[in-house]
């Protein structure tokens, strides 16, 4: 089987390379039969990589420890889910997953465009196949997943495997990498279409219309991936945080930021024919940042709390990025005439300007994150001394940017295209501004003095008010006309223009997430050494360590503290934080216990038994206000993204400069 697996990979590489060459020559010399063969090769690559993946997964599921990969990442006692998840638990396997997903996406693109985009498709296939060739090369020569362990005299055969890293044995972590990769890999499709339309001088908007769904779905997956990572860090790592500005986290954030910027600035091109060069740059940047992120996390270039093998992978990625970036830059520069803007910026007080500021801030944030992540590399190269920057750097830059973006989230959708008068702005923002002022006044009255927190909550109220108003105004009009209740009218309204109202829902999700993130300004924590039976306090809670029990199962041994939670003398239940030692890896892990509520989470970590007193446990207790709103906001964001993907009931003719919406109906100047 292992030979079959390795052979599938090799054949996939050959086919991918063939697909690249055939589509390039076929597109260039106008040979449809070559392009058709490239299409079939793309399907072939998908089938072969599926076979290779199936072989690896079945080896994992059957605990076939002759495979080095299986022995290193899996063991018998692991539940089947984690045996399966071990597919992406290590370098070789996760690269195979990357390749496989790319082949899946490529096959879908080729399948759904069998008859469409005749001139574009050869070049789209070329870009996809080139990327595929690169990843297949890595899989075949640099990180082969089908290496066998030497068995024979002098070598002890492996009875049981090493096991998946216990910290990864958590359901969110089983889902996090695939979601993230679906997001990373997916941006190759909009990029491929953009590249192809640039090369063939297709009408500029065609590629955007074709890839809008792709961009949105991919962005959605990337959001899911990042969010699952945060959820995992919060629930598993035991420090109660969800984001630490670690290089690996930053690597996933970078393409998300540029992707977000792209989804916004694309509207400028659709409606006004502006920012064509910029959108090209953004879609390319997003794709290359996704590749760059993969490179960062796998090459060991920057040190991270996540450990990575130092491998020769880095050089390959640098090569790929160098080729890709130079070809793309060259092409964009050669086509500047074709990308000329059709309209000009008329006023700083306009929808156009708000989009420009949105892009500027997102890019500034992206640049700051990139800069901070690469700081050790840059300083070593520049001054010969490695210097790193910590979370204060990232927070200092990104918190103000975040607040400014939040502000724009409220302003952008209500401000008119072309130019807006102060008068109309006052009318539009009267109520939202009032909501903001009232919120801030109320918080001040309750004794909140934290500046950023006040601003953040105030802006959240502002944006939420604008979103609710938009829904209310639209729904009221429909309700009056069709005699239906407001809720049904709101659904009807959303269905008529899913992109717009789905977008508002995404914004609402962002608002809720900001509420959750802002809660961290009021975190409380304490570390206590408590005798069994005694009490300690944190915030409004009184905690009593009732007992410490222990036991074991084949996968791990555990020790559990049973902690009774009281508030104002009232018993609220027990929390049971746990310490585990995994048998295969002998690695201890802590399983925190969390009492999740909408207003705050009570979070307990069982650090250890006391070293001086065997009858006492060391417990770390935290109170995290509003954390749940991060996850709730994420579900709203996801829901909004899905709404955006549903086709609108009423097809708006999106003619350029056509304006829709309540505040946009200012009289158009007649030429």
């Amino acid at each position: 089987m292992e030979t079959l697996g390795a052979f599938s990979l090799l054949l996939a590489l050959a086919l991918a390379a063939y697909a690249f060459l055939a589509s390039v020559i076929g597109g260039w010399k106008q040979k449809p039969f070559l392009v058709a063969s490239a299409r079939r090769a793309v399907y072939g690559v998908f089938i072969l990589l599926t076979a290779a993946s199936a072989i690896l997964v079945s080896a994992l599921l059957s605990s076939d420890f002759r495979y080095a990969y299986v022995a290193e990442r899996s063991n018998r006692a692991m539940p089947a889910l984690y045996k399966f998840a071990a597919w992406w638990g290590g370098q070789e396997g996760s690269l195979l997953l990357w390749s496989w997903m790319l082949s899946l996406y490529s096959a879908i693109v080729v399948w759904t465009n069998k008859t469409k985009h005749r001139t574009l498709m050869p070049w789209v296939i070329a870009v996809l196949a080139f990327t595929q060739t690169f990843f297949c090369t890595l899989n075949t020569f640099v990180e082969p997943p089908f290496q066998m362990l030497a068995v024979g005299r002098g070598v002890t055969s492996v009875v049981d495997g090493n096991g998946l890293n216990p910290l990864l044995q958590y359901w969110l972590m089983a889902l996090h990498p695939p979601a993230l990769y679906l997001g990373f890999v997916g941006f190759v499709v909009p990029f491929a279409f953009a590249f192809a339309s640039l090369l063939t001088r297709q009408p500029g908007e065609a590629w955007i219309a074709t890839t809008r769904r792709w961009s949105l779905i991919t962005w959605g997956f990337l959001s899911i991936g990042i969010m699952l990572g945060q959820g995992w860090a919060y629930a598993v790592l035991g420090w109660g945080g969800y984001w630490a500005w670690d290089p690996v986290e930053n690597a996933s954030l970078l393409p998300w930021i540029t992707g977000t910027a792209f989804l916004h600035s694309v509207m400028m091109q659709e409606k006004k024919g502006m920012m064509k060069v910029w959108n090209m740059v953004l879609v390319s940047a997003t794709f290359f940042l996704a590749i760059f992120g993969t490179f960062l996390t796998r090459s060991g270039v920057v040190s991270s709390v996540h450990a990575f093998a130092q491998s020769s992978l880095g050089a390959w990625f640098v090569g790929f990025l160098a080729i890709g970036l130079s070809v793309t830059t060259f092409l964009i520069l050669r086509r500047l005439d074709f990308l000329r803007s059709e309209a000009q910026l008329e006023s700083v007080l306009s929808r156009e300007a708000s989009f420009l500021f949105n892009n500027l801030l997102l890019l500034a944030s992206c640049f700051a994150v990139l800069w901070g992540t690469l700081f050790p590399v840059l300083t070593e190269w520049w001054m010969g001394e490695k210097i790193t920057v910590g979370p204060p750097f990232f927070n200092k830059v990104n918190i103000p940017i975040g607040l400014a973006l939040l502000f724009l989230t409220g302003v952008g959708p209500l401000i008119a295209w072309r130019r807006s008068s102060w008068e109309s702005l006052k009318r539009a923002f009267r109520w939202p501004a009032l909501a903001m002022a009232l919120t801030m006044a109320a918080l001040l009255a309750f004794g909140v003095r934290h500046l950023y927190a006040l601003m953040s909550f105030g802006l959240c109220a502002f944006v939420a008010a604008t979103v609710i108003m938009e829904f209310y105004k639209g729904a009221r009009a429909i309700a009056a006309r069709n005699q239906m209740n407001l809720l049904r009218a709101a659904v009807e309204l959303t269905h008529r223009n899913t992109r717009r109202y789905g977008g508002y829902l995404v914004h609402m999700g962002i608002v809720l997430m900001f509420i959750g993130y802002t809660g961290s300004a009021f975190n409380k924590d304490t570390t206590e050494e408590v005798k069994i039976g005694s009490h300690f306090r944190i915030g409004a809670y009184e905690l009593q360590v009732k007992e410490v029990t222990d036991g074991s199962n084949p996968n791990y041994a555990w020790q559990r503290a049973v902690v009774a939670v009281y508030r104002g003398g009232q018993y609220l239940g027990d929390l049971k934080p746990e310490r585990r030692v995994y048998a295969a890896s002998q690695q201890p892990t802590s399983e925190v216990a969390i009492r999740r509520r909408l207003n705050e989470d009570l979070y307990l970590n069982f650090a250890s038994m006391s070293q001086s007193d065997p009858e006492a446990a060391v417990i770390q207790a935290y109170v995290f206000p509003l954390v749940s709103w991060i996850w709730i906001g994420f579900y709203v964001l996801l829901f909004g993204t899905i709404v955006c993907l549903i086709p609108s009931k009423v097809k708006y003719a999106y003619a350029k400069t056509q304006v829709v919406g309540v505040y946009e109906r200012e009289p158009e100047p007649v030429p």
Partner: protein, 148 residues
């Protein structure tokens, strides 16, 4: 044209503010990478500078005193030992134990102990054996020393 000038001024103001924030953020949090021996031979004038130092936890040296944790780290080949006191708020990572590769951020006190405000231990998310060493026998999750 007026619009573009206004727009340019706004952009410049925003970028200027951000650059200023970034510079102060770097000043506040920049941390030098030092090896244990470099740290030991640092001139007294540089004491108190924020430093990140990496080493292997000396087996048996981890000792908890109240909420402070004392331990020693050493360089594998040289045997230079550094005494570290950790008083930070976050719990120590699960991977922090004897022989683990630990990364401590903090400052060197005049008496030669290192006061760490944060500790990271290698290998929370993936263990990666060094390339080409898919050895059959030592299948323990030895954290890779590679990425520093």
């Amino acid at each position: 044209m007026k619009t573009y000038i206004r727009f340019g001024l706004l952009v410049a103001a925003i970028l200027g503010t951000l650059a200023w924030l970034a510079a102060s953020g770097i000043r506040e949090s920049k941390t030098y990478y030092k090896t244990i021996s470099e740290l030991k031979s640092m001139p007294p004038s540089e004491a108190g500078k924020r430093v990140r130092v990496t080493g292997d936890v000396v087996p048996g040296s981890i000792r908890r005193e109240g909420t402070a944790v004392h331990f020693q780290i050493c360089e594998k080949d040289r045997g230079t030992v550094l005494h570290v006191v950790y008083t930070g708020k976050d719990p120590l990572p699960d991977t922090f134990r004897d022989d683990a590769q630990a990364m401590a951020d903090g400052r060197l006190a005049p008496d030669g102990t290192f006061h760490a405000s944060s500790i990271a231990a290698k290998c929370p998310s993936k263990y990666e054996a060094a390339p080409g060493k898919a050895a059959p026998k030592p299948l323990n999750p030895a954290p890779s020393r590679s990425s520093l």
